[in-house]
């Protein structure tokens, strides 16, 4: 008689597990930064992903979805640990997120080795577009070099003859400055890499910039560092003396604190909030009414990631095991992106337009607007190093 409660419990558990197996759901692991000063970015991405799920009726590809959010604390080793935990212990079907290129590069191997699809909604290191490309990795953002390359084209159009470059000393910073140099035709007056993420005082480098007397300064300082940089650029009296051109330094997460310091500082982007397609209008309007603030490009890319996964699962009619079918469906990029139509290159990096964004004051608020299209259908310059065809 002692064995009966135990047997009953075991039977109940077995029946529950059997019942669970009937309702198949999609498990998505979301790795981003949710602590520290750059948590605003992670929150924007999470908000956008949740909004996308709302728009899809809380189902992806018609199946119920479970999202597990993990914090990488902006550290590559933590991001890798969390990725491994999501793959091995939570057994997720998709990995989404990855703001930072160094975190993504550290987390790449576990994902690729386990054949888990990884959709990077931000980081686009050059290695990933070239030798390390994988059939299981897709980007809904860009390859790091593409955006500063567009800014280089714009700087040529403006007749800038010499530029002083500054960026943080990690994978993305190096990509960004290399990307600018790939299209900018003027003289490079200086190239400074600052310690990342600790060094927030740029006085030594800004003094060097002033000494070099360039026509313009180009910088890449994402997240909170963009606020600190613009503060110091103004405090040192460089604002108004040397024109500033940026990539990923001014966006909707930093603009509320940069305010008038960002006026007249152009940036390049593949998505700006006022792009005129219907999906984007719905995304921006619903985001603003649900979260009471404007979405940034980080969020727009994450919104697209959800729709990309949805397109893949719909194409294979919910058969998660059909990875080949999902891959081919994703390569066709048949979902409606908020940036407008785009295609994938052989390395699963988008071939897309880049726009000139500028900051204007509307009433009491500062907003980003699209001023022009800088390049159309730009492809990254590493795609021929990728062995995939």
């Amino acid at each position: 008689m002692r064995g009966t409660p135990l047997a009953a419990a075991a039977l109940a558990a077995f029946l529950a597990a059997a019942a669970q197996a009937q309702t198949k759901s999609v498990k998505i692991g979301f790795v981003s930064t949710f602590s520290g000063p750059t948590a605003v970015i992670g929150n924007d991405m999470r908000n956008s992903f949740e909004l996308a799920l709302d728009h899809l009726g809380r189902k992806i590809g018609g199946m119920p979805v479970q999202v597990i959010y993990e914090d990488d604390q902006q550290k590559p080793e933590v991001g890798r640990q969390k990725t491994q935990k999501l793959i091995e212990s939570d057994k997720v079907d998709f990995l989404v997120g990855y703001i930072w290129s160094n975190v993504l590069l550290a987390s790449l191997k576990p994902a690729v080795d386990s054949k888990t699809f990884l959709i990077t909604a931000n980081a686009g290191p050059s290695q990933l577009a070239g030798e390390l490309c994988s059939p299981y990795v897709f980007s809904t953002s860009w390859q790091n070099d593409q955006t500063p390359a567009a800014m280089g084209v714009y700087m040529n159009q403006r007749g800038v003859k010499s530029a002083f470059l500054m960026g943080p000393n990690y994978a993305a910073g190096k990509d960004m400055l290399a990307g600018l140099k790939s299209t900018f035709k003027g003289r490079i007056a200086g190239e400074e890499y600052t310690k990342w993420p600790d060094q927030l005082d740029f006085s030594a480098e800004l003094t060097k910039a002033r000494a070099a007397k360039p026509d313009a300064v180009f910088v890449f300082y994402p997240g909170a560092a963009g606020v600190q940089f613009l503060n110091q650029y103004g405090q040192m009296g460089l604002r108004g003396q040397i024109p500033l051109y940026t990539a990923f330094t001014i966006d909707e997460t930093t603009l509320p604190r940069q305010k008038e310091l960002a006026l007249g500082v152009p940036g390049a982007q593949q998505w700006v909030n006022d792009l005129p397609n219907a999906e984007n209008k719905k995304y921006v309007a619903d985001y603003k009414s649900k979260y009471k603030m404007a979405p940034s490009f980080y969020g727009a890319q994450t919104y697209d990631a959800a729709n990309l996964i949805d397109a893949a699962l719909t194409a294979v009619k919910g058969d998660i095991a059909d990875k080949e079918g999902m891959r081919r469906a994703m390569e066709r990029a048949e979902f409606k992106s908020v940036r407008g139509a785009f295609k994938y290159g052989n390395n699963h990096m988008p071939i897309q337009n880049f726009y000139l964004q500028d900051v204007v004051k509307q009433g009491d608020d500062y907003v980003l607007i699209t001023k022009a299209t800088i390049v159309e259908n730009s492809q990254d310059r590493f795609h021929d190093r990728c062995p995939m065809r």
Partner: protein, 305 residues
């Protein structure tokens, strides 16, 4: 030449800011024999108070003054609640307890102010360049940091060397028990010293907030540098803290400014992109290692140690 002067001023400003932190840290370590990792958290609280209070009152100066007072109160609260239980115990206990305080304050700040960093906008009279020499402009705000820090250093010197309380502080550093036996209220004295240290850390935070913005975890990085400073300068010695912080500030800034070009010349352009930025940021720790090899007790060790 002017650029070199500007870089020296940058280094001076950074060094003086480090001094504010290191002075409090070395006082607390030297007099109370307390390793206080939470010093960085007091720096962070100063920055956050400055951000909120200057936004609330609309005036940077008033906000800064109130923020100083608030950080002082927080420091005294920490001393009474936590530090009193740590006196006389092993340094490892201090490390554990104050590390816990770091975690506590980081989370508290996130709960009260949210995860986004807070900006402290500068009034126009500070947010402009000043012409120090003909043709040579320097940021008014960084100049004001230099002036305020030097004034504070002077006040600290006067306090420790020329007042009765300063005499009690120096006596307590030499022999705590004797001081208690002479009828001095040592507990109150220690609370006072900790409060002074907290106020100095808060002042550093208040002054850094407009440049760096206030964000969680901002105390940790600068705390490491502050420890490097007091190790190089000599534990318990304020003079050592001043010399060492100026030395480190200038070395770090001038290193970042000139070392990359020098090394790139010597090692070639391929190394310039990869090795050089890393080397120039390691400079401070290399210097600390060298000083410790030559003078293990620091450059200006406090008398009696």
């Amino acid at each position: 030449m002017l650029i070199f002067t500007e870089q020296c001023l940058n280094g001076l400003q950074f060094g003086l800011l480090l001094f504010l932190l290191a002075a409090g840290l070395t006082l607390i370590f030297g007099i109370m024999d307390l390793v206080n990792l939470a010093h960085g958290s007091l720096y962070m609280m100063g920055a956050y108070f400055a951000a909120s209070l200057s936004a609330l009152t609309g005036s940077l100066l008033l906000g800064a003054a109130l923020a100083l007072a608030a950080t002082l109160l927080v420091g005294i609260a920490i001393e009474v609640v936590v530090m009193r239980r740590l006196y006389g115990r092993d340094h490892l206990d201090h490390l554990l307890a104050t590390f816990g305080l770091i975690l506590f304050f980081n989370e508290l700040v996130r709960l009260l102010w949210g995860p986004a960093a807070l900006s402290v906008p500068l009034p126009d009279w500070l947010n402009r360049p000043i012409e120090i020499l003909p043709g040579f402009f320097y940021s008014a705000y960084r100049l004001s940091i230099i002036v305020v820090s030097l004034a504070t250093a002077l006040l600290l010197y006067l306090l420790v060397m020329r007042t009765r309380i300063g005499m009690l502080i120096r006596a307590g550093a030499t022999n705590r028990e004797m001081l208690g036996a002479l009828g001095v209220n040592v507990r109150l004295l220690f609370t006072f010293v900790f409060g002074v240290g907290a106020a100095l850390a808060g002042l550093a935070g208040v002054m850094q907030a407009p440049t760096l913005t206030a964000f969680t975890g901002m105390g940790e990085n600068i705390l490491i540098l502050a420890f490097v400073v007091i190790v190089i300068g000599g534990i318990g010695s304020i003079r050592g803290a001043l010399m060492a912080s100026l030395f480190i500030g200038l070395a770090d800034t001038l290193g970042r400014a000139y070392l990359p070009d020098v090394l790139a010349h010597m090692l070639g352009p391929a190394a310039a992109a990869t090795v050089v930025p890393a080397l120039s940021s390691m400079l401070v720790y290399l210097l600390m290692a060298m000083v410790l090899l030559l003078r293990p007790r620091g450059l200006f060790p406090a008398a009696g140690q």
